[in-house]
């Protein structure tokens, strides 16, 4: 019997979509774009304010209402990523964090910037840095990243 050759077929899937964000997500993203404002949704039954926003509470399914949040909060957890792939945004160093915004009960997962990785710790106070208005396009990355903020008045 001749020596077996394993043939490898190289393929690639490019699949365009036009995903509807929905009315809730659309309000959130256009507010980011037009006013650099971060809105959460509050469940009247669970009394939980969540961001990203949800039209209905994931835990009790009640209809939520809008609540504007401060673009600042504190760090819940974080990681510094030491590999790169084309899925990653061009960010050096690449740091992810879960940020609990003031007034929110859930965390927002986003990027951290303008921070020395050695200074990262839970509870670190952060503020959102937005792209310039003309660069914002109604996208979660209209927030460039969160950076440490100076605490005043203490």
């Amino acid at each position: 019997m001749p020596e077996e050759e394993a043939v490898i077929y190289r393929g690639r899937i490019r699949m365009p979509y036009t995903w509807a964000v929905g009315e809730t997500g659309s309000f959130f993203l256009t507010q980011l774009r037009d006013h650099a404002r971060i809105w959460g949704t509050r469940c009247p039954q669970c009394r939980r304010t969540m961001v990203p926003p949800r039209r209905n509470c994931p835990r009790c399914l009640a209809k939520t209402h809008w609540l504007q949040l401060e673009p600042r909060g504190s760090l819940v957890t974080y990681t510094v990523v030491h590999y790169r792939h084309r899925i990653h945004p061009p960010q050096e160093p690449l740091i992810y964090g879960v940020i609990k915004l003031e007034g929110a009960d859930t965390g927002l997962t986003h990027l951290l910037g303008e921070v020395d990785p050695a200074d990262l710790r839970p509870g670190l106070l952060l503020e959102a840095v937005f792209k310039e208005p003309e660069q914002r396009r109604g996208h979660i990355l209209d927030i460039l990243y969160f950076r440490p903020r100076e605490v005043t008045g203490s």
Partner: protein
Amino acid sequence: MTNVAIVGAAQTPYRRRRDDASLAELVHEVTVAALADAGLEMGDIDNIVTVSNDFWDGRTISSMAVMDASGSSYAGGKNVSTVEGDGTFGLFYGAMRILSGVYRTTLVVAHSKGSEGDPMMITNSMFDYIYTRPLGLEFISSCALQARRYMDKYGLTEADFALVSVKNRRNALRNPYAQLAGELTVEEVLASPVLADPLKRHDLSPISDGAAAVILADSPVALRLGRKPVWLKGGAFCSEDHFLGDRDLAEAPALREASRRAFEMAGVTDPFREIDVVELYDACSYMELLWLEEMGFCPRGEGGTLIRSGETAPEGSLPVNPSGGVLSAHAVLVAGLARVIEVVLQLRGEAGPRQLGPKPVELGLAHGINGPCGQSHCVLVLGA
């Protein structure tokens, strides 16, 4: 519950690449082997549950590509249904089909090849496309967020996590199906390249190719077969919030609830004393400790104490992942069925050089997860 038994099981060895076999050929390989293990023929199988994921396979309705290989066209065609999730979820569904009374035997078969697609892109695609996917978060970085939170909340250390890798890779030395095996030291794990801190190379499971199949039967069929059946004593499957920020990542309430329900069904009141072997889904080292806490084997935050005690080693009182676990072979979706199969082998006394003892293995737990940071959990209690 002694209405459903596992009467046949088979798996491929897990390897970095299986260029010698297509996905359907892997499925065929384990289907035939599981039938032989059960002493059944394809004509005896009433229905089939396949487990697959379209993104990993790179095609729409990935189940369609393996239906023939699992016997769907045999003798005029069989009822085939599909689960997109871990293999344990497929088993849970297959068991319910028997409990319905409509079917007496179910073949559950899972396959995946991590080698063929791009795991970074595929696991990035498990996140919502509006808020999280554009950030570039994927399997490793999301697990790192969970590991960090778990450390911070309860004071566990990277050395605690390293002990899990050391134990499981050592266990894998006695499992010919495992892909990664070896004598590691805690220092070697800690010194391995940092990927997304606190996770390092040796904290992570490998990319694997493989398939696994299990045959379920109702009790009259199981008792007629003459081979020692392994009974499904209890099982539950629960999910929690999808967004990582909605959860406290140092906790897994879905696993807590699934364990509670499964133990209640099985009549288990003191899991640490009653369960003889645990095979759980340790896609990363820290998961073994977090999942053990939430299953109720130790108090919350005490996972580090448990691994340091040595009780979860094969010679301890609660052996965990004697197969080497997912840290030693991680064919996505298949890995949960691999956990089930290891428990079956241990209960049958057929685990070869890694057979636990001398105390007889009478009750085991198999666990599977799916979704970011263990969004969904399935807990199965299996007994001889």
